[in-house]
Each structure stands twice: as C-alpha cells, then as structure tokens.
C-alpha cells in the first residue's frame, strides 16, 4: 500500500493556548454519536467556539485572520483523556496537517500519527515565540520538517522532537501500520495458538 510520505508540512499556523486540553473539549461526546467520521470537522472545539444559541465565542479558530491554517500550536498534554479518535479526525478534517505542542497525550499522539498528522514537541519558549510571530503576521508561512525535526518560519529555525518510530513511519509513508501488521502472516496463527484466550467453559 503506497502511502504519502510526510516529510514536511508547510502552511499557516494558529495558536490554541492552554495546557491539558482534553479530547472532550476537542470533540464533545455528543459528536461521537456517529457511525462514520465524515463531517467531524464541524465538531472541532465546538463548545469552546460557540454559545448554545450558535453565536460565536472568541476563539482562535473563529478568528478570520487564522482561517485556513493547517498547523496548530498547542500547550502541554494536549489531547489527554478519552481515546476517541474522533478528536484527531476532527482536527484533520478541519484542515490541519500538523501540530506543534509542548507535549501530547499518548493515545492522541498515536491516533494522529496513524492519520499522517505529525505531533511534534517543542519547548514552551519556541512555541510562544512562534505564536507571537503568527499573531503579528497571520499569513506567516511555517514549515514543520518531519525529516530533519525542525520548524522553520521567517528567518528562524527551532528543533522539535518526535519519537523515531513515528518519524520513520511518517517520512517513509508507513504511518498506517496495517500493511506491515498483515505481513506477519502465519506468525499470527502461531501466536494465537500459544497465547491465552478467554473461553466459556
């Protein structure tokens, strides 16, 4: 299965500040009452962005200056809480292709990688400097270089972190693991034959 190689992501950025932003906030549970992921982009940060009457609240994603951004700048422990893949799906379907944050919750990170959406970690200072630059010039072009593990904008560059397995998976176009997993073939039957199984007795 030939998958796109995610070597770098270039686009405009938007800063969604705050630490410990959980997946209930990213996609409130009522948006999980679906049997496909279609249309989830609209759910993104819904209750943070809209009042119950549908009017807009002040939120970076409602700010016309940042419309069309494809890189999201976030704080620490982003995506904590529920394992719902609906959250990265909503982010992806809203047009985002990479996240730069201080740190990411593990399940969210894995779900995002499997969607080809890199979540790279950077220092608070680097993220804040980039956020300030974006605030100053929302049209600023930002590049997340997955291959070289750096972020570039204007004349600035800073280093980012990404576990090597995720970097490799993205850069080599192996971010969806299914093909690799299926290659195990007979090893799967052998493992199932020797490992414990819950059987009604």
């Amino acid at each position: 299965m030939a998958l796109e190689r995610i070597q770098q992501v270039t686009g405009r950025a938007v800063h969604v500040p705050g630490n410990d932003i959980d997946t209930d906030r990213i996609t409130p549970a009522r948006y999980l009452k679906v049997v496909t992921f279609d249309g989830l982009g609209e759910a993104l940060f819904h209750d943070e962005r809209f009042n119950p009457d549908g009017s807009e609240k002040p939120h970076p994603l409602n700010d016309p200056r940042f419309k069309g951004a494809s890189i999201m700048l976030v704080g620490a422990n982003f995506g904590c809480g529920s394992s719902r893949e609906h959250s990265p799906q909503a982010i992806y379907r809203a047009g985002f292709r990479a996240l730069i944050g201080e740190s990411f919750a593990e399940i969210f990170f894995g779900n995002s990688t499997a969607l080809s959406m890199p979540c790279v970690s950077a220092s608070k200072a680097d993220i804040e400097a980039l956020a300030a630059a974006v605030e100053e010039n929302p049209a600023l072009e930002v590049t997340v270089d997955v291959e070289r593990l750096e972020v570039r904008y204007a004349d600035k560059t800073f280093k980012v972190k990404l576990p090597e397995s995720a970097r490799k998976a993205l850069v080599e176009g192996r971010w969806d693991p299914i093909a690799d997993l299926l290659e195990a073939g007979e090893l799967l039957e052998q493992a199932s034959a020797r490992l414990p199984k819950a059987v009604k007795s």
């Binding site: 410990d20 549970a29 719902r84 740190s103 399940i107 690799d180 997993l181 090893l187 199932s192 819950a198």
Partner: protein
C-alpha cells in the same frame, strides 16, 4: 536483575519488530463497544479484510444506552443507529455480544472482569481509555483509537512502543473514610495529569495488597487520568479468588495450571523499575476535585487554591478552572452547593460501591432540590442490588435507580447535566463539558462522598455526615 510483570507479558506477546522499529504485539482479548468500533468495521470492509480471530473479540453496548428504558427503537435516532450497527457488525463477523437482552450487558470495563474474560497476563485492548481498569488483574490493558481497533480486528496485533515502568508503592494504613478512589485521586494529584506519559504504572504496597479486586479496579481505572496508558497490580490470591468459577475462566485441572502460570507472572522481587514512587497511606485524605482535570483535587477539609499564592506561570490555568467551576479563590471545598449526585461509571459502579453506600444511605433522604441518580455498571450488578435490597435503599432515599450503562459519566445518553449544574460524581473525569453541558460542573469523589453530598445538598465530609469509619471500624 529480575523482570516486572509488564516486561514478562510484553516479551510473551511480541511477535516481531516492525520496519519503523515498533513492536508488533499480540492482543489476547479485544473488547469493543458501539462508539469506537463502527468506523473500524467500515475500514475493514474498505480493505476487504475479515476479523482474523473473532473468538478473541467481545462486544457490549454501554455508552449510548438509555438507563431509564430499553424499549427500542431508542428515542435518540443516532443512538438507535449505533446499537443497530453494532448488532449488524457482530452478527456478520461472529463476535460474542453482550446485548441489552442478554442479562449480562454493562459497561465494558465492568463486564470483562465480571465474566472472567479479563485474566492475568493477558494483553487487552479496547477503544476506550479506561481499559486500564483490567490491569487490576495483572493484565496489560490499554485504550486504543479506532484505526487501532481496525488493526486488532484484522490482525489481533498492534504496532506499539515499549513503555517504561513506574512502581507506585502505597504503604501503611488508610485512615477511616478513605477509599480506593481517594488513593488514585491522591496519586494523580502528586504525579500530575501528565506525569504518567510514557509509563505503565505498577501499583503495589500494603494498601494495594489489602485491596479487594474492585478497589484495585478503581485505582487502575484512573491510570489514564494520570497520563499512564496502563496501570496494573500483580496477581495474587485475591485475584484468583475473585476469578474462580467465573464463566470464561478455565475449570478443573486447567484452572490449577492457569493459577500456577499466573503466579509466575508477578514482578520478580528484584525487578527493574524505571522509577519508584512511595506514597504514605496516612497522607491520603477523603478527596474532592475543585477544577477541570482529575489532578485538581484537595482534601475535603481543604480550601480551593488561591491563584495569587501560586507562581505566575500556573495562574492562568488555576483561574480558568475556578472560573469554570464558579468557585472563589481560597474558599473551602466543603459546603459548595450540589444540584446533581451521580453514582456509577467504570470507576465506581460495581457491587461493592453500591453495598458500601447502602450501609450509610439506609434511612436517609436525598436533600430537596438534588437530582440523585444511581446507575449500576452492569445488569449483573443491577440484579445483585435488587436481590440484596440495595436498590430499594437507594429508591427509598430518593435516588433514581437506573439501568446499566456509562450514563452521566460522559453523557452520550439522555442523562446529562443542565446548564451550570454542579454534580457530585463518582466518575473519572471533571473536564469542561464532560457531563453533557458545556457549562456543567463536575466534582469527583468516592461513592460514599457522593452519597454524603446527595443527602446534605452540598459537598460534605462523609465522616461527619455518616460517621464513616466509626461504623466500619476501619
């Protein structure tokens, strides 16, 4: 140097190394529910794949089921579509399904242990972050996303990186009125909501050794709230006694062999840990959260933080939490008015939770103006509560006694907070909007503290309200 249980289980289940360096890990038991599985079955279909080992997947319906009536079609057409889709998928692929008509339906993390599907040394995955619950049995159990649900359905394996292991010892004697829920809320407060990223938590020490299986489940359940994808307790006699005779465990000579095998899985006395944390049982108080993540908690006798007294970097987060909770800086947590009391969830919806509360609730009344809801974790728990007269005690007290499901823990069914109602809750998450209203407020606590809040109409110290501790002589 010896090995931890995590290492032993990991090695037994590692099939091969993948090209990106991750390990292909075999998953013994896969649990699915209606919310995170339909898209996975869709992906499977798109790829032209089948469920590789259907006998290793078990399904239930829990998140969207109404708890007041199981009449179908459900009033909520979306919920109705989800249960029908799940039925269609399990039928097509030959998967065991604990449907609402089975008498065995319930929250996935309640019924797995109840049926004996959860066993020591297993790898267990489910598209639900509270899968860590099953670690109470010495299983390596963790939540996965929907794409990974597809991976398990198609191959019974996952691409995983090995975690580090942090041993958390809780030594000493818990003070009267302190429960397993308080232990885990305390651990999360000490280590932080992101302290566990990259770790499996191994819980031990005299307190965990003395805990029942259900208390251990409460602790392991909230590992993910501390950032740890899985948490476990080494299997021991308590584990084996709980499992013996349950429908899905081996019987006779096979049982004896299984117990021997399980005993050998426990971490070696000289096991290597990447980190060790020691917690004194005496330092743990009955706890309530005051904020918008499970680490923002304090002793019931404490005051909520005053951001002015904290370093500047921490103030915005504290102010945001207090603003959402509508609490004043420095006010005592005790005495805050409660509009809703929720008792249930995969954290605290088991028979022992209802038994413990019933001891104190008997003869009491829910305070006027408080909506109190009791939701058993499974149909089995519901039946036990009826048989033991527990359900009647709750009804007499003015609780709404409901059917099994996730209910107001995440409000995907009709059970929701309205407006900015404040809920004393035995669940696991106090995130903004978690209980179904964007402005709703959640205060996490033990089941007995929820009952104390229900009868007084305010956040209360159960030791004062019920004399907890004196009665049980704990």
């Amino acid at each position: 140097m010896g090995k931890s249980l995590y290492e032993k289980v990991w090695e037994a289940h590692a099939i091969r190394t993948l090209p990106n360096g991750q390990t292909q890990l075999f998953i013994d038991t896969h649990l699915i529910h209606e919310v995170t599985s339909p898209q996975a079955f869709g992906m499977l279909k798109d790829l032209g794949l089948k469920v590789r080992f259907p006998e290793r997947t078990f399904a239930t319906v829990d998140h969207i089921v109404p708890t007041h009536s199981l009449l179908e079609p459900f009033a909520d057409p979306q919920a109705d579509e989800m249960i029908r889709k799940l039925r269609e998928n399990v039928r097509e692929h030959g998967i065991t399904f604990f449907d609402v008509t089975s008498g065995l339906q319930g929250i996935v993390h309640v019924i797995g242990p109840e049926q004996g599907i959860t066993q020591p040394g297993m790898t267990i995955a489910c598209g639900d972050s509270h899968t860590s619950t099953h670690g109470a049995f010495g299983a390596i159990a963790f939540g996965i996303g929907t794409t990974q649900v597809r991976d398990v359905l198609a191959t019974q394996t996952l691409a995983m990186g090995k975690l580090k292991v942090r041993r958390i010892n809780v030594e000493g004697k818990l003070r009267p009125g302190v429960y397993a829920k308080d232990v885990i809320l305390h651990i999360i407060k000490v280590l932080g909501v992101n302290g566990g990223i990259g770790y499996a938590y191994e819980y031990g020490g005299s307190v965990l050794e003395g805990f029942s299986m259900e208390e251990r489940m409460t602790v392991c359940n909230m590992s993910i709230e501390g950032g740890a994808r899985c948490g476990y307790v080494n299997p021991d006699q308590t584990t084996f006694d709980y499992l013996k005779g349950r429908p899905y465990v081996p019987k006779g000579a096979e049982w004896d062999a299984a117990v021997e095998r399980w005993k050998a899985l426990a971490s070696d006395p000289d096991a290597h840990y990447d980190d060790v944390v020691n917690i004194k049982a005496e330092d743990i108080a009955p706890t309530a959260t005051w904020g918008i993540n499970p680490g923002q908690g304090c002793a019931i006798t404490d005051r909520v933080p005053d951001p002015a007294l904290y370093p500047e970097a921490e103030r915005p987060g504290l102010l945001e939490a207090l603003a959402h909770m509508k609490l004043r800086p420095g006010q005592p947590i005790k005495g805050v008015k409660v509009e809703v009391a929720f008792l249930g969830s995969c954290t605290n919806g088991r028979i022992s939770d209802f038994r413990e509360v019933a001891k104190y609730l008997k003869g009491r009344k829910v305070a006027p103006g408080v909506r109190a809801i009791a939701v058993p974790g499974s149909q089995v728990v519901a039946r036990q509560c009826e048989e033991e007269g527990i359900a009647e005690i709750f009804r007499e007290a003015g609780f709404e006694w409901r059917g099994a499901g996730c209910s107001m823990c995440l409000a995907m069914n009709p059970d929701k907070l309205i407006g900015d109602e404040l809920c004393a809750s035995s669940s696991n998450r106090n995130f903004k909007g978690r209980q179904g209203s964007a402005t709703g407020r959640t205060v996490l606590m033990s089941p007995v503290m929820v009952a104390a809040a229900a009868v007084t109409g305010e956040i209360s110290d159960a030791r004062e309200v019920f004399g907890v501790g004196e009665l049980v002589g704990a």
